[in-house]
Protein backbone atom coordinates (compact mmCIF):
# COMPACT_ATOMS: atom_id res chain seq x y z
CA UNK A 1 0.00 0.00 0.00
CA UNK A 2 1.50 3.35 -0.97
CA UNK A 3 0.13 6.86 -0.40
CA UNK A 4 1.76 9.94 -1.90
CA UNK A 5 0.62 13.55 -1.45
CA UNK A 6 2.80 15.74 -3.60
CA UNK A 7 2.96 18.90 -5.70
CA UNK A 8 5.06 17.22 -8.42
CA UNK A 9 3.45 15.67 -11.48
CA UNK A 10 3.44 11.86 -11.57
CA UNK A 11 3.82 9.51 -14.52
CA UNK A 12 0.47 7.71 -14.74
CA UNK A 13 1.70 5.02 -17.16
CA UNK A 14 4.83 4.27 -15.15
CA UNK A 15 2.83 4.09 -11.91
CA UNK A 16 0.17 1.74 -13.31
CA UNK A 17 2.82 -0.38 -14.97
CA UNK A 18 4.96 -0.72 -11.81
CA UNK A 19 1.85 -1.36 -9.68
CA UNK A 20 0.65 -4.20 -11.94
CA UNK A 21 4.16 -5.67 -12.20
CA UNK A 22 4.61 -5.87 -8.42
CA UNK A 23 1.34 -7.49 -7.38
CA UNK A 24 1.49 -11.21 -6.77
CA UNK A 25 -1.51 -13.48 -7.02
CA UNK A 26 -3.82 -10.74 -8.29
CA UNK A 27 -5.87 -11.32 -11.40
CA UNK A 28 -7.39 -7.85 -11.59
CA UNK A 29 -5.91 -4.35 -11.51
CA UNK A 30 -8.10 -1.24 -11.70
CA UNK A 31 -6.81 2.30 -11.99
CA UNK A 32 -8.62 5.61 -11.85
CA UNK A 33 -7.15 8.96 -12.81
CA UNK A 34 -8.73 12.36 -12.39
CA UNK A 35 -7.70 14.94 -14.99
CA UNK A 36 -8.15 18.72 -14.96
CA UNK A 37 -10.92 19.38 -17.50
CA UNK A 38 -10.55 22.50 -19.60
CA UNK A 39 -14.34 23.14 -19.42
CA UNK A 40 -14.43 24.11 -23.08
CA UNK A 41 -11.48 26.47 -22.74
CA UNK A 42 -12.97 28.42 -19.81
CA UNK A 43 -10.50 26.98 -17.31
CA UNK A 44 -6.89 28.14 -17.38
CA UNK A 45 -5.67 26.38 -14.22
CA UNK A 46 -6.71 24.57 -11.08
CA UNK A 47 -5.25 25.20 -7.65
CA UNK A 48 -5.52 22.50 -5.03
CA UNK A 49 -5.11 23.36 -1.37
CA UNK A 50 -4.71 20.67 1.25
CA UNK A 51 -4.19 20.21 4.98
CA UNK A 52 -0.66 18.83 5.43
CA UNK A 53 -0.60 16.11 8.06
CA UNK A 54 -4.33 15.48 8.11
CA UNK A 55 -4.35 14.64 4.39
CA UNK A 56 -2.00 11.70 4.73
CA UNK A 57 -3.81 10.40 7.84
CA UNK A 58 -7.23 10.72 6.21
CA UNK A 59 -6.11 8.87 3.08
CA UNK A 60 -4.43 6.13 5.14
CA UNK A 61 -7.69 5.67 7.06
CA UNK A 62 -9.68 5.39 3.83
CA UNK A 63 -7.24 2.83 2.38
CA UNK A 64 -7.37 0.79 5.62
CA UNK A 65 -11.17 0.75 5.45
CA UNK A 66 -11.03 -0.53 1.87
CA UNK A 67 -8.46 -3.19 2.81
CA UNK A 68 -10.68 -4.46 5.63
CA UNK A 69 -13.69 -4.65 3.37
CA UNK A 70 -12.29 -6.22 0.20
CA UNK A 71 -9.68 -8.83 -0.56
CA UNK A 72 -6.97 -6.48 -1.85
CA UNK A 73 -3.52 -7.59 -2.95
CA UNK A 74 -2.40 -3.95 -3.04
CA UNK A 75 -3.58 -0.33 -3.30
CA UNK A 76 -2.00 2.94 -4.37
CA UNK A 77 -3.14 6.55 -3.95
CA UNK A 78 -1.31 9.55 -5.40
CA UNK A 79 -2.85 13.01 -4.99
CA UNK A 80 -1.34 16.28 -6.09
CA UNK A 81 -1.71 19.75 -4.61
CA UNK A 82 -0.68 23.17 -5.92
CA UNK A 83 -1.24 24.57 -9.40
CA UNK A 84 -2.25 22.29 -12.28
CA UNK A 85 -2.94 22.98 -15.95
CA UNK A 86 -5.88 21.58 -17.95
CA UNK A 87 -5.16 18.01 -19.05
CA UNK A 88 -2.85 17.32 -16.11
CA UNK A 89 -3.54 14.38 -13.79
CA UNK A 90 -4.80 15.54 -10.38
CA UNK A 91 -4.64 12.16 -8.72
CA UNK A 92 -4.83 8.43 -9.22
CA UNK A 93 -5.81 5.33 -7.35
CA UNK A 94 -4.95 1.76 -8.26
CA UNK A 95 -6.27 -1.43 -6.69
CA UNK A 96 -5.30 -5.06 -7.19
CA UNK A 97 -7.39 -8.05 -6.15
CA UNK A 98 -7.78 -11.72 -7.04
CA UNK A 99 -11.04 -10.97 -8.89
CA UNK A 100 -12.40 -7.99 -10.77
CA UNK A 101 -15.45 -7.25 -8.59
CA UNK A 102 -13.25 -6.49 -5.55
CA UNK A 103 -10.77 -4.41 -7.54
CA UNK A 104 -13.58 -2.28 -9.05
CA UNK A 105 -15.51 -1.88 -5.79
CA UNK A 106 -12.40 -0.88 -3.83
CA UNK A 107 -11.35 1.67 -6.46
CA UNK A 108 -14.81 3.27 -6.48
CA UNK A 109 -14.93 3.27 -2.69
CA UNK A 110 -11.51 4.97 -2.52
CA UNK A 111 -12.66 7.59 -5.03
CA UNK A 112 -15.94 8.29 -3.24
CA UNK A 113 -14.16 8.77 0.08
CA UNK A 114 -11.25 10.78 -1.35
CA UNK A 115 -13.82 13.15 -2.91
CA UNK A 116 -15.54 14.04 0.35
CA UNK A 117 -13.35 12.89 3.25
CA UNK A 118 -9.79 13.82 2.31
CA UNK A 119 -8.93 17.48 3.06
CA UNK A 120 -8.38 18.87 -0.41
CA UNK A 121 -10.06 21.98 -1.84
CA UNK A 122 -10.10 22.80 -5.54
CA UNK A 123 -10.12 26.30 -6.97
CA UNK A 124 -10.77 26.88 -10.64
CA UNK A 125 -8.89 29.74 -12.26
CA UNK A 126 -10.57 31.05 -15.39
CA UNK A 127 -10.69 34.12 -17.58
CA UNK A 128 -13.51 35.51 -15.39
CA UNK A 129 -11.61 35.03 -12.15
CA UNK A 130 -11.14 32.29 -9.58
CA UNK A 131 -13.79 30.20 -7.84
CA UNK A 132 -13.72 27.49 -5.21
CA UNK A 133 -15.31 24.27 -6.47
CA UNK A 134 -18.46 23.57 -4.44
CA UNK A 135 -18.93 20.09 -3.01
CA UNK A 136 -21.79 18.28 -4.74
CA UNK A 137 -24.67 16.65 -2.86
CA UNK A 138 -24.18 13.70 -5.21
CA UNK A 139 -20.66 13.20 -3.87
CA UNK A 140 -21.89 13.11 -0.29
CA UNK A 141 -24.74 10.79 -1.33
CA UNK A 142 -22.24 8.46 -3.03
CA UNK A 143 -20.88 7.53 0.42
CA UNK A 144 -24.24 6.06 1.40
CA UNK A 145 -23.91 3.15 -0.99
CA UNK A 146 -21.00 1.68 1.01
Amino acid sequence: MRIAVQSEAFDLGAEVSAFAAEVRGAGAVVSFTGLVRDEGGRLSAMEIEHYPGMTEKAIAGIVEKAARRWSLADALVIHRHGRLEPGEAIMMVATAAPHRADAFAAAEFLMDYLKSRAPFWKKEIGADGAEWVAAKDADEDALNRW
Binding site: G53, M111, K115, A118, W121, W132, E140
Partner: protein, 81 residues
Amino acid sequence: MEVLYFAWVRERIGLPRERVETQAATVAELVEELRAREDRYAAAFADLTALRVALDQELANFDAPLAGVREVAFFPPMTGG
Protein backbone atom coordinates in the same frame (compact mmCIF):
# COMPACT_ATOMS: atom_id res chain seq x y z
CA MET B 1 -4.59 26.28 20.75
CA GLU B 2 -3.76 26.50 17.05
CA VAL B 3 -6.68 27.40 14.81
CA LEU B 4 -6.31 26.70 11.08
CA TYR B 5 -8.41 27.93 8.16
CA PHE B 6 -8.54 26.49 4.67
CA ALA B 7 -9.93 27.43 1.25
CA TRP B 8 -12.50 30.26 1.30
CA VAL B 9 -12.58 30.28 5.11
CA ARG B 10 -8.87 31.15 5.03
CA GLU B 11 -9.46 33.80 2.36
CA ARG B 12 -12.40 35.37 4.17
CA ILE B 13 -10.59 35.56 7.51
CA GLY B 14 -7.38 36.58 5.81
CA LEU B 15 -4.93 34.23 7.46
CA PRO B 16 -4.11 30.51 7.34
CA ARG B 17 -3.62 29.94 11.07
CA GLU B 18 -3.44 31.71 14.38
CA ARG B 19 -2.90 31.00 18.05
CA VAL B 20 -6.12 31.44 20.06
CA GLU B 21 -6.39 31.60 23.85
CA THR B 22 -9.84 30.40 24.81
CA GLN B 23 -11.87 28.88 27.62
CA ALA B 24 -14.46 27.57 25.13
CA ALA B 25 -15.66 24.10 26.12
CA THR B 26 -16.89 23.09 22.66
CA VAL B 27 -16.26 23.90 19.01
CA ALA B 28 -19.58 25.79 18.93
CA GLU B 29 -18.45 28.01 21.82
CA LEU B 30 -15.15 28.71 20.07
CA VAL B 31 -17.08 29.65 16.91
CA GLU B 32 -19.18 32.10 18.99
CA GLU B 33 -16.01 33.73 20.35
CA LEU B 34 -14.49 34.04 16.89
CA ARG B 35 -17.72 35.41 15.38
CA ALA B 36 -17.77 38.16 18.03
CA ARG B 37 -14.24 39.32 17.15
CA GLU B 38 -14.62 41.05 13.78
CA ASP B 39 -16.85 41.18 10.73
CA ARG B 40 -14.52 38.96 8.68
CA TYR B 41 -14.91 36.18 11.29
CA ALA B 42 -18.66 36.73 11.44
CA ALA B 43 -18.74 36.44 7.64
CA ALA B 44 -16.64 33.26 7.58
CA PHE B 45 -18.77 31.58 10.26
CA ALA B 46 -22.14 32.90 9.09
CA ASP B 47 -23.44 29.49 7.98
CA LEU B 48 -22.14 26.51 9.91
CA THR B 49 -23.84 24.04 7.56
CA ALA B 50 -21.33 25.21 4.92
CA LEU B 51 -18.40 24.43 7.24
CA ARG B 52 -16.57 21.38 8.49
CA VAL B 53 -14.30 21.12 11.52
CA ALA B 54 -11.37 18.87 12.38
CA LEU B 55 -9.93 18.43 15.89
CA ASP B 56 -6.30 17.34 15.93
CA GLN B 57 -6.70 16.38 12.28
CA GLU B 58 -9.79 14.20 12.72
CA LEU B 59 -13.21 15.27 11.43
CA ALA B 60 -15.52 16.23 14.30
CA ASN B 61 -18.89 17.83 15.03
CA PHE B 62 -19.52 21.37 16.19
CA ASP B 63 -20.73 20.13 19.58
CA ALA B 64 -17.48 18.22 20.19
CA PRO B 65 -15.56 19.15 23.40
CA LEU B 66 -12.25 20.99 23.08
CA ALA B 67 -10.62 19.56 26.21
CA GLY B 68 -7.08 18.45 25.37
CA VAL B 69 -7.33 19.55 21.74
CA ARG B 70 -4.25 21.28 20.35
CA GLU B 71 -5.31 21.96 16.76
CA VAL B 72 -8.70 23.04 15.42
CA ALA B 73 -9.27 23.46 11.69
CA PHE B 74 -12.22 25.06 9.91
CA PHE B 75 -12.88 24.53 6.22
CA PRO B 76 -15.62 24.06 3.62
CA PRO B 77 -16.74 20.57 2.52
CA MET B 78 -13.80 18.81 0.90
CA THR B 79 -13.45 18.50 -2.86
CA GLY B 80 -10.68 15.97 -3.41
CA GLY B 81 -10.31 13.29 -6.03
